[in-house]
């Protein structure tokens, strides 16, 4: 008996290892995050107009794009800070409760947390979230198991600690 090779429509391409940087402004205490594809995290404080930004934390992670093998289109995911598993959220939270219900149907819920750019935190557009869902669901082999990735329509970026996201804090020291 021969096994047909599994064909997948979407593939992860342009994988860029780097750091998710969390920084804080000295006077307003505003926080923001961004990704750098560098070998070491940038630790220098810097001035931006009247603001003075200081790195707070760095997590090892990676960014990637997704290629549609059917059309050749490459969808960039440069705004993705990481995926947040519902079970890593507070039990009373909306996301936990929705995730718990979804789990009963063998659906694992994740939320795509984006970095904070010029326009603030903008949830990932639905068409891109659809591509992410296709990418990760095509990889599954457990019967009836599904992954559902949602955009951050819950404003989770305001509530969560970045350590709740599936990135690697603590593997490199800021000291």
């Amino acid at each position: 008996m021969t096994t047909e090779p599994m064909t997948r429509r979407y593939e992860m391409v342009n994988v860029r290892p780097g750091y998710l940087m969390i920084e804080q402004e000295n006077h307003t205490f505003a926080r923001r995050s961004y990704f750098v594809a560098e070998q070491t995290p940038p630790l220098e404080e810097y001035r931006e107009g009247a603001q003075f930004w200081k790195p707070q934390e760095a997590a090892q992670t990676f960014q990637f794009d997704v290629r549609d093998t059917l059309t050749g289109e490459v969808v960039p995911f440069g705004e993705l800070a990481g995926l947040l598993y519902y079970a890593c959220c507070a039990k009373g939270s909306t996301v936990y409760q929705i995730g718990d219900l979804a789990h009963d149907q063998r659906v694992s819920l994740y939320v795509a947390i984006t970095t904070k750019g010029e326009e603030g935190h903008v949830p990932m557009p639905l068409e891109k979230v659809r591509v992410l869902n296709a990418l990760f669901n095509e990889r599954l082999t457990s019967p009836r198991k599904k992954v559902l990735i949602l955009p951050d329509l819950f404003g989770l970026h305001r509530e969560i600690m970045y350590q709740q996201i599936a990135v690697d804090f603590g593997l490199t020291s800021m000291e």
């Binding site: 994988v15 090892q60 990676f62 079970a87 990889r139 996201i165 599936a166 990135v167 690697d168």
Partner: protein, 109 residues
Amino acid sequence: MKIQELAERLELKPATKVFDRDVTGVYISDMVSDVIANAKAGDLLVTAQAHANVIAAANLVDTCAIVVTQGKALPDGVVKMAEKAEIAVFTTALNRWQMATKLYEAGIR
């Protein structure tokens, strides 16, 4: 090979209920981002990490089970999370290299 059989042969200690699945490969990593990028469904994840996001990553890529090395204990919350996700987690006193050797000797490629 099924995970239950492999666990018995390698004397892995179950930290959760055992959800038996075929082991189709192995991925060794301590970085959840690396697991998400590179592990494959059906892989046995060997890691020294025992925190919640290891379960989040293993669940996302559909690994068949997790082996936590160097005798690390799992926090209660992580055990519950893994069981809910139906991912068996085992512990071993061996380090990752020793575990890799044992897996190879057991015929897992």
